[in-house]
Amino acid sequence: MSRRSPGDRAPAGQPGPLRVVDAADTDRAVLRWKLGHQLFHLHLTAMNTLLVDAHAELESGHWPELTACLDHLRVLYDAATATMRYASDFSQGTYERIIRPSMAPPFLSPGFSGTLNLEHEQMLERFRVLRRHLKQMQLAGTAPATVAEAGARLWQAQSRNRKNHVHVCAKFVPEGKSLLNDYFREQREKTDRGQPAAPDDAREDDV
């Protein structure tokens, strides 16, 4: 069985051959993209819970419990990194034909972006606060070395995650064009042509 994808268009004025898309491949890509993101959200929710716990353990000076929290957070960060690789475990062609169009008009509003992920925004903010507090305690010499070592392992996991995000983006969008940036570029072009447009600024994160 085969099906047409949203991206299969003949050049203007030409009938053009239908591109045959492997339905199983398409189904697999959609499943992995969305199920992978759902797992990512489970990880993020667990991370947000553990970040609150870690903050409480830090405030109370419960160092073994804080170390355990930091190590669990590290495992979840690495899991989130691998989960993004799972979510994107399909071909660039399938991304261009199926996944990317599914996140753009007419299916969704313009400007769809990973910055709309609420749990991720919450996690990053809590992470920043925890890191600042841990650093202050280290400078003051109040936290034991085991806490500092667990913290260092966690920051390394965060660094691996950021590098992986760059690789996933480069795999699917080699020129780094996000849907949000596409939207604002189109608005700028409209302005140049004298049409009303949205303000021109863009955030970098794409899903």
């Binding site: 697999r28 499943l31 992995r32 969305k34 199920l35 992978g36 993101h37 759902q38 797992l39 959200h41 489970l42 990880h43 667990a46 819970t49 553990l50 669990h72 495992v75 979840l76 690495d78 899991a79 989130a80 990194t81 691998a82 989960t83 690789r85 799972y86 475990d89 599914s102 996140m103 969704l108 509003s109 313009p110 400007g111 769809f112 972006s113 910055t115 709309l116 992920n117 609420l118 925004e121 949000l180 939207y183 604002f184 949205a198 303000p199 600024d201 863009a202 955030r203 899903v207």
Partner: protein
């Protein structure tokens, strides 16, 4: 009018002195991207439902998603390290959830005693 708006309008008594105001669902002042796409659209796309789930509903979501991942993981091109990282993450999610179950169960036992 949505259910939320109706509830906001129905709050009494303020004797008609106060009108409802609109606040962003994400708790931040809208920027240039807000009002174009939205967190609600993001949630809808990835089939995320936001309400106040109890521990049972949360646990069911964990089981459903992890069941799907486990069924597909062996068919991926992921490295053994990536698969191990995913499984370890699933374990921590379930471990943390079980700790909450034990906490809830302990509270109920103390209340029953």
């Amino acid at each position: 009018m949505t259910g939320d708006q109706s509830a906001a309008d129905a709050v009494a008594p303020d004797y008609g002195l106060i009108a409802p105001i609109t606040l962003p669902a994400d708790g931040r002042i809208p920027d240039e991207a807000t009002g174009v796409s939205s967190p609600a659209e993001y949630d809808g796309y990835f089939r995320l439902r936001r309400d106040r789930p109890d521990l049972q509903a949360w646990s069911r979501s964990c089981l459903d998603v992890q069941r799907g991942i486990l069924a597909d993981l062996a068919l991926t091109d992921l490295s053994a390290e990536d698969r191990c990282d995913i499984l370890a993450g699933c374990l921590v999610v379930l471990h943390t959830t079980l700790e909450h179950w034990v906490g809830v169960s302990g509270t109920r036992s103390r209340e029953a005693a």
